[in-house]
């Protein structure tokens, strides 16, 4: 069967941060409205809804959101699917939506996500996140996500013979860069905040899970995001600047301790991204801009390596030397990433699509990436359990 080419129509995102007065459905609905109004379509044109949500059960006592969402935004009786892959939830939903369109099952679908972790509070939020570490052997130790990446940071330092003090300084540059971009982004949780951090300030943050301190960590966030997906031909009839889905990839990994020495090489992420590069017919060096899953500073560093953007062991130096900043080899997280923009888990995947689509349309005013032709998204679900990547290309 010949696959159809897929493109992105309108995209939407709520302000990320604190929304105690908005439900999961409200946050999705706000993002959907923005995406819908930019797509030049009618409600009846939308054939299915793909929704990413991580843990509405714990934070809001809500599951089975699909039907409530189609009703909430006025889409009638169309089928709705909820995807749960921890932090990769709506990225996986997006990938599945593109595959359904490519295969010809649907012509126009909406994909999005929402989450309310800020409103859940730190204790419940941290526990909700910890449901995506391995559920018998890891959780019994009290392992949470800062812990996962604390373990990873020390493995990285040992493997590449970097002192912990030196690694903390290199990691600080990731935080400084992502907060700089986040402070410029009106939809970021830390808009107009912490835009000029320095290494000393980052290092003085209170220790959360050593060697990671406060500024190494992304915040707890409420938010929603959405994108409308169709074929290239339909998109070209509807809007001026379609953004094309060039390739996608996905892979799985087991518990941290099962991966042992392979952990920091991140084989599932390599496999997922190689799948996307191959489908697009491009190499990592062709990528101009990346939205990376920087739940922690070290997470961004090891991701840039497994994605093939830098050699193994060189990601920390690249961050320190500005190779991931504007003017560097590849721009990483120009919307602020999870650290500067915020991380409403189920909404994070499609918010990466939101940022890259707008960047490739020259509409992302807070940080423009001049001349960017190809963008890559990258999400990590759980403690190395689900990896998902999407390659987007500018219309010609």
């Amino acid at each position: 069967m010949k696959k159809r080419n897929v493109a992105v129509l309108g995209v939407g995102q709520t302000k990320f941060g604190s929304h105690p007065d908005k439900s999961l459905a409200d946050l999705f609905a706000d993002a959907f409205k923005e995406a819908f109004e930019k797509s030049n379509i009618e409600k009846k044109d939308i054939e299915a809804l793909y929704y990413g949500n991580f843990n509405g059960e714990l934070t809001d006592g809500s599951a089975n959101m699909g039907g409530f969402l189609t009703d909430e935004v006025g889409l009638g009786m169309i089928p709705a699917y909820r995807y749960e892959a921890a932090c990769a939830s709506s990225q996986v939903a997006f990938r599945e939506a593109t595959r359904a369109v490519a295969a010809g099952y649907h012509d126009i679908v909406v994909v999005g996500g929402s989450e309310r972790l800020h409103s859940a509070g730190t204790a419940l939020g941290t526990r909700a996140l910890a449901t995506s570490v391995e559920g018998i052997h890891e959780i019994t130790t009290g392992l949470g996500f800062p812990g996962v990446f604390g373990l990873v940071a020390r493995l990285y330092a040992k493997e590449y013979n970097i002192s912990i003090e030196n690694l903390r300084e290199k990691m600080a540059h990731v935080s400084i860069k992502n907060h700089k971009f986040g402070a410029r982004n009106p939809k970021a949780q830390f808009y107009q905040k912490m835009g000029d951090l320095d290494v000393e300030t980052v290092l003085s943050g209170r220790m959360i899970s050593s060697p990671l301190s406060l500024y190494d960590c992304c915040p707890m966030t409420d938010g929603g995001s959405a994108a409308i997906v169709t074929t290239d031909k339909i998109a070209e009839d509807l809007i001026n600047k379609p953004v094309y889905v060039l390739g996608t990839g996905q892979a799985s990994g087991g518990a941290l301790f099962r991966q042992g020495a392979n952990l920091i090489k991140f084989e599932p992420r390599r496999k997922s991204s190689q799948m996307a590069y191959k489908e697009a017919g491009i190499k990592p060096d062709d990528v101009d801009v990346v939205e990376i899953h920087d739940c922690f500073t070290i997470a961004e560093i090891i991701a840039t390596e497994a994605l093939g953007l830098f050699d193994y062991g060189k990601g920390a130096d690249a961050a320190e030397q500005g190779e991931t900043d504007l003017g560097g080899k590849v721009v990483v997280n120009p919307d602020g990433g999870l650290i500067g923009k915020g991380h409403p888990v189920g909404a994070t995947g499609t918010s990466q699509i939101y940022a890259l689509t707008r960047i490739l349309r020259d509409e992302f005013k807070s940080t423009s990436v001049k001349g960017a032709e190809i963008g890559l998204t990258d999400t990590l679900g759980g403690d190395f359990g689900t990896l998902c990547n999407v390659l987007l290309g500018r219309g010609r």
Binding site: T122, A123, L124, T126, R127, L129, A130, T131, G135, I136, H137, E138, I139, T140, T141, G142, L143, G144, P146, G147, G150, L151, V152, A153, R154, L155, A157, K158, S163, I164, R206, M207, I208, S209, S210, P211, L212, L256, F257, R258, G260, A261
Partner: protein
Amino acid sequence: MAVITFKEYFDALLEGKLVGLKCQDCSVITCPPKNTCNDCGSYNLEKTTLSGRGVIMTFTSTYIPPSGYEKEAPFVIGMVKLEEGPWIIGRIDIAPGKADELSEKLIGREVEVSGKEFPSEQFYPDKDRRVVPIFKMIDK
């Protein structure tokens, strides 16, 4: 075609015994046990008892734990590479401040594992108890 449930695994750990599964096809040992060989995916597994000794590969001192674990915090979580090959996760029997002070010097230290019982928490699959593997430093 042996299977070891998590309850059996933790029962043994509380008695000071670390059990796992040895693959009859590729000889790799899987610990903690799972339904298939961690290397080749085979079901052809036999029960085995491990030495319970290994070295610390990495650790993190956790000061802000998930809810349900506050009473036990702060604590030091570590991953240990066992003599037989597998990596396991548990807590290191050391004060968090001391662990962070030792930092790189803690990596590579030899330890022995045992089990310690804690009350279960709201979401833990075993509603009666939680067992945490505890790594004790071997004095040399």
